[in-house]
Assembly symmetry: C2
Homo-oligomer: 180 residues x 2
DNA sequence: CTTAACCTTGACGTGAACGTGAAGGTTAGA
DNA sequence: TCTAACCTTCACGTTCACGTCAAGGTTAAG
């Protein structure tokens, strides 16, 4: 479809990889073309390479990155500005990677690895903080549930499981919908 | 201070609690007055009682609720519309609670408890889903860290075994006219 | 060469979630 | 009673995160 095959391009920049046009990237990531361009505009994505006609060519790495950004936004609820900060770290990480690959010097490589580790760990820490807060919320709900269960057991048992479905509780009944 | 003491109110709805004016609520929750009114407008908060001069009087429960809403938004990244759905469940829960307390009938009480349980469980499920997704993200970061650690250990004696599918990344070749 | 299906950059529109006055009423204290 | 500090309801403004044309260039195929 919109992958860029080697010889078809008049004189592209790089045509030996599975580079994608924006339409295909959009289809694969679920993001709209507008959104993708917007993310690039905000610096959430490194400027992709272009064909000589200025069509954007997205590397697999770019696509992965877009997925990361989308998830950050959806899962962590971060603003795009916050995500950019995180992702700028990612930039550095790739920079480190290329520096790593550019040398044979083991000590330099170790240094780069160490820096990449530090970076990734700080990203992880960010996620962990969110996680902890959500776990807290989860525990509150669980203790509430436990309280209900306790009350249920303490309530003297009668034989009736009859349905008295009148009154304003109909909403609650409706609220208990089926699960998938 | 903006707490409302009992006798000062001309003829409010309920004046035996530590009811607060919006300014104080704002100070305690960190939300602006505008935001609080907006949340009420959206139905995220039950309409608070009023003084005879129409000043809003927030119950401690209202304040708690505002805190919950704020956390939902911040932590889960939900839209206010989504939060309203969750919080409507909370409304029902309180309704159930008052109905529970209004009866001595054990079977009715069990029924109410059952409904409250169902409701809270569905809320918990929502939180759990988010949690699971974030854990996934966390694990990715951790595996990345693990990879770095592995590389670190392998580095002293080996050279360039690891190879991903990305080629050398060149920058855009023909200048886009609008680029800085 | 022609054409359809892509793509490009503007540029204006939109909904959500508030911010920011404006104009005026309420409350507590002197 | 008077006033400062609150509060009220409009109502328009703003930022974010895109949506949606519009006008025109590029690419692949016939």
């Amino acid at each position: 479809m919109q992958t860029v095959s080697s010889e078809k391009i008049a004189e592209p920049t790089t045509n030996d990889g599975p580079y994608l046009l924006i339409g295909e990237v959009s289809a694969r990531t679920g993001l709209t073309q507008r959104t993708i361009r917007y993310y690039e505009e905000l610096g959430l994505l490194p400027p992709p390479t272009r064909t000589h006609g200025d069509f954007r060519l997205f590397s697999p790495r770019d696509v992965t990155r877009l997925g990361q950004v989308a998830r950050m936004k959806k899962l962590l609820g971060f603003s795009l500005a916050e995500i950019r900060e995180i992702v700028e770290g990612e930039e550095v990480r790739e920079q480190l990677r290329s520096e790593y690959r550019a040398t044979e010097d083991a000590s330099v490589r170790l240094d780069k690895l160490e820096q990449a580790l530090t970076l990734t760990r700080s990203q992880l820490e960010l996620v962990d903080r969110k996680l902890a807060q959500i776990v807290e919320l989860k525990m509150e709900l669980e203790s509430r549930i436990a309280r209900y269960m306790r009350l249920k057991q303490e309530t003297p048992n009668t034989v009736a499981t009859e349905d008295s479905e009148d009154g304003p509780i109909r909403q609650a009944k409706r609220g208990a919908r089926n699960e998938g």
